[in-house]
Symmetry: none
Subunit: 215 residues, 4 copies
């Protein structure tokens, strides 16, 4: 490839990245409908029209963020789950990873929820919606497999793994979500660390098969 062409390709990739970055911030803060593409363009340092060279519409830009961040998340989650660990420890690590990921990338988060919004989905090709749904299903599937393993090994109560995965997933999301949406309450960010640990341990206790005393 000629150096000039290479430079141009790089610049394009850079613009793409900056747009996603800016859009993530704005969508996160304002939600899909209230988000303003003027602001996205300005934050990304490009002209408004440029957005449309990279994404066909506001809705597709939105989905691109969901998808992009979902892929990063999935990849990191897989790295965390080294196969030799016992199931309980895997779950504990996955939970901590999830929490840490959120603390370090607070704006990756809110956005998970919004795919539900009919106002957004209505404007999207079915295929895009399916893509994002499948992405998050894969993450849930990872959890379900750990639980299945634990059930087989007799360390977890005999519940439906997929259902349990949903409950765990839900707990984690719920805590983060609640914390986000109630910044004034007594539950402060400084304590969030501990609250999260406690919640994880609470759920793991609830999930574990009680060890028979004396055995």
């Amino acid at each position: 490839m000629a150096p000039a062409s290479q430079r141009r390709t790089q610049k394009k990739a850079e613009s793409h990245r900056r747009i996603l970055e800016a859009a993530k911030e704005v969508f996160f803060r304002d939600g899909f409908t209230a988000a303003n593409l003027d602001e996205v363009a300005e934050k990304a340092g490009v002209a408004k029209g440029t957005l449309y060279r990279y994404f066909d519409s506001k809705a597709e830009l939105y989905v691109a963020i969901l998808s992009h961040n979902g892929k990063i998340f999935e990849q990191k989650l897989r790295e965390v789950l080294s196969p030799s660990l016992p199931p309980m420890e895997k779950l504990r690590r996955a939970s901590h990873f999830y929490f840490r990921h959120y603390v370090e990338n607070p704006d990756y988060f809110q956005i998970f929820w919004a795919i539900e919004n009919q106002a957004v989905i209505g404007e999207l090709p079915e295929s895009l919606v399916d893509e994002v749904t499948a992405l998050w299903d894969r993450n849930l599937q990872l959890l379900a497999e750990i639980i299945e393993e634990g059930v087989r090994d007799g360390v977890f109560l005999d519940h439906d793994p997929w259902e349990m995965a949903n409950i765990l997933w839900t707990l984690a999301n719920g805590i983060i979500q609640t914390e986000r949406s109630t910044p004034r309450r007594r539950l402060r960010r400084r304590q969030l660390d501990r609250v999260f640990d406690d919640a994880i341990e609470l759920v793991l206790r609830g999930l574990a098969r009680p060890t028979v005393a004396g055995s």
Copy 2:
């Protein structure tokens, strides 16, 4: 009061109620920004201008719904928690109430989350925001008191009651929220009943002080 005046007062109350009803439906379905006051007025059977006789702005109408439904919820929750029950059973009832309340009033729900977003709602009087926040804090406080009682009685692990209340609250919200936002996943509405029961029992198990074997 003169009969004419009385009739007028009744009619006003009726309009107020119809507007709240209609707005709840629309805000729930579309979210704050995408919600359209034309539709609210039409559903309520009043003229658009009439909305402004009852509420100063879209945002205040929104907050009025949060507040109104919160009050109803609080009242019902208090009715459920008759004081003679053991703490564990109180928590179980509160949880089931919460779930049942959601199943019967699905549109009461989504709306809890949105108060967070200052950027969307815009400039609300501090007092309004505080009112809603305080309302939900009172609900949490009810849970916290049950847990405190349980800790005192030795049936719950010795955790900070407020923190535990948050975790429970969060779990319940998270499950409902997840179910709402992932209608395509394997976790179907028909199973939600059971999932919710399982989740509650899981958390209560995690919260309970393990009984000494043999005793």
Copy 3:
């Protein structure tokens, strides 16, 4: 009807009229795509949003003009064609009416042609397009009936009346259209009167069954 309500209704009708008037002018001058609704609103003396209280979209406003003017034209044409005249004279009158109508309402004209435009039609409900098409067909039908009468009476050559109506219609449109589109040519507006007369007589001569010499 209460006087206040009546006044409001009148004002609405007045706005409707002013919008149609302004839109006609702008659409005529610029064509559908290039026409600017900002300018229409300004000329009509209403806010831009007001346009949308009366017409759902640019395309529907456009069709409303076609339809409105078509109806006026049809009505006037019928008035001109008093039934007792001989066919040849009826045609002559219809022709002169058409020409006069154009001279007095130059902006009624151009617009006839544009319904063809796919860019416009594509955005319109089928029913609207059909309405306009039917309207103009009725005008053609009026001409065809005169010709049919003349053919029966033996004063016109034995051609298909519908076809002949098309040719006449076409001639008239063509002359006006050409004159509109070539303002710089030697054929000046001042002469248009005479050109139009000459064209009409030329076509009527061509249409007439030659009278037998000596009779």
Copy 4:
């Protein structure tokens, strides 16, 4: 000329041709304002920026098409009008040529009309507009000369030749135009052939000096 240079010149001419070809198609289909230069570039197989190496603006590209096709038309018309024929036959041939030209090049046509609209085209150099106007005037002049000849010979009525040329021109354009814009009416393309013949004969009859019976 060096072979390399020659090749480059050829390639340029080829691009020029392809751009005109593509632009004709798009302008014809969509009209001036709605036409999209992105599509033109793609159809022509060149980059969008390349269009501006050949034409200074959208408007100039448009005018180039008018001019280019006008020149082709003029050349062919002259070939058709071999001087030895009687005027009536010349007119008949010119008419048929015009019609055939349209049937074979339907997209050459629509475009004639649009030069008029200064508001749409915007600021074109006077010289460009004059060029196109002059081109079409020359075609009209050809017709006028035939009529003048016929008037001198006594086979045509004594009318102003330029005026008659306009009427003929107009009739032809009108029929084609009407047919274009009313594809749904009863006048179908299959019959257009015959309609056109009938129209020509009608006009020629109207133009002809009646032969005195018995002489």
